[in-house]
């Protein structure tokens, strides 16, 4: 044995798990992270367009809330993100990594668009109901497949759902070619532009009021379902430990399949919102990466619907604001994705400081002497 008796210095900083943290401290840390993120974003925008940070945020604010129309578009997109987050919540609570929201949205969107195209003659309310159901079923199916294989053979759900995204994407590409209008444009174009069949009707004079009502209703129902229903209890137990669930007499496979179907169905409804409540068309960018963003929203909010609204609002504000900056300076819209990424890095990273605390060397010595 080598006797390497070096005089070791104690490490400068050690980490220890926090026992508890006051709520104001936790939110203080999150607030600092948020401010940090906004500063970094401002610095980057300044580096690119040389606009002073205050003006940057003024412009962003105008981009998101500047006019009534913009405000409603921001709200609409927020609701969209919230809807997907609500859909993902039960799957994540079950510790099932459904990263297939993108595909489930597209599946719902295809179903909605198909109803609009082929059933455009049905009376308004009935058509909307049919579209709602069909998109939920389509999205549900997209969640059902990976759910079944996970339940039966424990097939890796992360990659399964991911691949299902691309299958849905190619399906959309197929239907775009099929429904192309006008010919040769490689686009579906606005569906039913004259009859507006299958479009969300304006409520209280607002085009997107129905989106808000629908999503908030879904969010409320999901909250109650997860918190108070027996099925919600089962989801929580399965998520914690499959062994415990078996012990409690819960049939784990059927809970997995049921929950994934529900999760997919709500994401499918998000696809219905895109087609019927927003764009009135379908394209391969109908989901536009929101399925992935919503995963982070749902996870960060720890399935708390209220927090989900906050985070979704923040992200959509950044997105709209960044797009405004981009259009003023003739840059492309991807700047919004970049900024969103930075913000998320900060929020994800700051959770560490809530879970753990740092103990510095000097402090420790003082403690020891005391």
């Amino acid at each position: 044995m080598k006797q390497k008796l070096k005089e070791h210095k104690e490490p400068f900083v050690r980490i220890a798990k926090r026992v508890k943290i006051e709520w104001w401290k936790a939110w203080g840390i999150r607030g600092i992270a948020l401010v940090g993120a906004l500063l970094v974003c401002a610095a980057i925008i300044y580096a690119v367009v040389a606009l002073n940070p205050l003006q940057v945020y003024k412009a962003m604010f105008e981009g998101a809330f500047g006019t009534n129309k913009r405000l409603w578009v921001t709200i609409r997109d927020m609701m969209m993100l919230l809807c997907i987050g609500v859909g993902l919540a039960p799957a994540f609570k079950m510790r099932f990594w459904n990263i297939g929201a993108e595909g489930q949205i597209l599946a719902g969107a295809i179903a909605s668009a198909a109803c609009m195209i082929y059933l455009g003659t049905l009376p308004g309310i009935l058509l909307l109901l049919v579209m709602f159901l069909c998109s939920a079923v389509a999205g549900g199916l997209w969640g059902l497949f990976p759910g079944v294989f996970k339940a039966k053979w424990n097939t890796n759900e992360t990659l399964f759902t991911l691949m299902m995204n691309y299958i849905a994407l190619q399906l959309v590409a197929f239907f775009v070619a099929l429904w192309e209008n006008p010919r040769g444009s490689n686009k579906v174009g606005i569906i039913n532009p004259n009859t507006r069949a299958g479009w969300f009707p304006p409520l209280f004079g607002q085009d997107y009021a129905l989106n808000v009502i629908l999503v908030l209703a879904l969010a409320a129902i999901m909250f109650l379902y997860l918190k108070y229903s027996k099925q919600g209890y089962e989801i929580a137990v399965v998520g914690e430990s499959e062994n415990t669930a078996r012990y409690a007499g819960i049939r784990v496979p059927s809970v997995v399949i049921r929950t994934m179907t529900i999760s997919g169905a709500v994401c499918g409804i998000a696809g219905f919102l895109v087609v019927s409540g927003a764009s009135h068309t379908i394209s391969i960018s109908s989901a536009g990466g929101r399925g992935f963003t919503a995963i982070i929203v749902a996870w960060l909010a720890k399935f708390n619907t209220f927090v989900m609204i906050l985070i979704a609002g923040l992200l959509v504000f950044l997105e709209k604001g960044a797009i405004e900056i981009a259009s003023r300076f003739d840059l492309n819209n991807f700047v919004s994705q970049m900024i969103m990424g930075i913000l998320l890095f900060f929020i994800i990273g700051c959770e560490f400081f809530i879970q753990y605390e740092l103990k510095f060397r000097d402090k420790k010595h003082k403690e020891a002497q005391a």
């Binding site: 980490i15 220890a16 798990k17 690119v48 990594w97 990263i99 294989f149 053979w153 424990n154 097939t155 890796n156 992360t158 990659l159 399964f160 991911l162 691949m163 299902m164 691309y166 299958i167 190619q170 399906l171 590409a173 197929f174 239907f175 775009v176 070619a177 099929l178 990466g289 992935f292 963003t293 995963i295 982070i296 996870w299 960060l300 003739d330 840059l331 492309n332 991807f334 700047v335 919004s336 994705q337 970049m338 900024i339 969103m340 990424g341 930075i342 998320l344 890095f345 994800i348 990273g349 959770e351 560490f352 879970q355 753990y356």
Partner: protein
């Protein structure tokens, strides 16, 4: 199918496969340390755009670019950016112990934004017009040996490619050898299997995780560079192809059951499946799109088969996806 079109298919498959092979080999190295980095598409984005930007500025400022400098600059930029991306992921998951899935997805969102933003706006920011193009650098990346290339059949199949195709193969074998035969490779495998054990054996878990993640990220980034320089010949396209290739690379890791050498034929198989639709006659535009699903459908099929067989040796590293804290009680 004629011989010519078969050759063309295989050739295209190798080009396609090389992109995801880089991604897979890098990700295998990363995952062997227990880090599941879903930021592979993002890191490929970063590698691609950084290589492109580096070459772009070099070519813009030098009317007669020196080939070797083109190469060094593009490679250097790509690797540096990819390692930086992986380091962000490492910081979040290893030091800050964030959830790996979430951190990886965020990295992909962020890097996709960065890459497409610069890819789309760079020319304008630099005061030019139109698309970026780095023809000189791309030519270096696509250079091959004239004599060998002209050998019938074999030449076209094996020697018509740029050097990065061979680099990807060398890396795959090298990583495989590293994991199997070296002491450091053994330690790395232990870190991914059981970090507490590795720690108790005196292995610096944090250091290994960081190094594996960053080096793996560097290799992954080369996939993006190859895509930009060879696959689309030194331009940029905001069409999300890199992203889908990146996800296929992640899937290929499972397909290859964490063995780099097995990833080689898997990568080329994916290439064949992806391009097959071009070589089947009588497909309409719509059905072509359906055909493009093949690699994804096959991946799902393989996932199911793997889960049915459940052999002890084909399992992921046991602690994959979990963060490690020594004083966890």
């Amino acid at each position: 199918m004629s011989l010519d079109s078969l050759l063309a298919l295989l050739q295209a498959a190798i080009v396609f496969g090389t992109v995801i092979l880089f991604g897979s080999v890098g990700e295998i190295l990363t995952e062997k340390s227990g880090n599941l980095n879903l930021g592979v598409p993002g890191i490929m984005y970063l590698g691609g755009i950084a290589g492109l930007v580096g070459a772009f500025f070099y070519e813009m400022n030098n009317p007669n670019p020196v080939p070797i400098l083109c190469l060094v600059i593009a490679l250097g930029c790509a690797i540096a950016a990819a390692v930086a991306g992986a380091a962000i992921f490492g910081l979040l998951t290893i030091t800050l112990r964030a959830n790996q899935n979430v951190a990886g997805l965020t990295l992909t969102i962020f890097s996709g934004g960065v890459a497409n933003f610069f890819g789309g706006s760079l020319n304008r920011l630099a005061g030019g017009v139109g698309q970026i193009s780095v023809s000189a650098t791309s030519a270096v990346f696509r250079a091959n040996i004239p004599v060998l290339r002209d050998i019938p059949i074999v030449g076209k199949l094996l020697f018509s490619h740029g050097f990065m195709v061979y680099l990807s193969l060398i890396l795959a074998f090298a990583v495989s050898w590293f994991l199997k035969r070296t002491s450091v490779g053994l330690n790395l495998r232990a870190v991914g299997e059981n970090p507490a054990t590795a720690d108790a054996a005196g292995i610096n878990v944090t250091k290994y995780k960081y190094l594996a993640t960053c080096i793996g990220g560097g290799i992954t980034g080369l996939g993006g560079l190859y895509y930009v320089m060879d696959y689309i010949k030194g331009t940029w396209a905001n069409d999300y192809t890199i992203e889908s290739l990146g996800w296929l690379a992640v899937a290929l890791v499972i397909f290859a059951s964490w063995r780099p050498t097995r990833a080689i034929w898997g990568a080329y198989l994916f290439g064949v499946l992806f391009w097959l639709y071009l070589y089947i006659n009588g497909l309409s535009r719509g059905t072509k799109e359906l055909f493009k699903m093949l690699p994804y459908v096959v991946t799902i099929g393989w996932l199911i088969i793997v889960s049915l067989r459940r052999s002890r040796e084909n399992q992921p590293p046991a602690s994959l996806g979990l963060s490690y804290f020594r004083e966890e009680r």
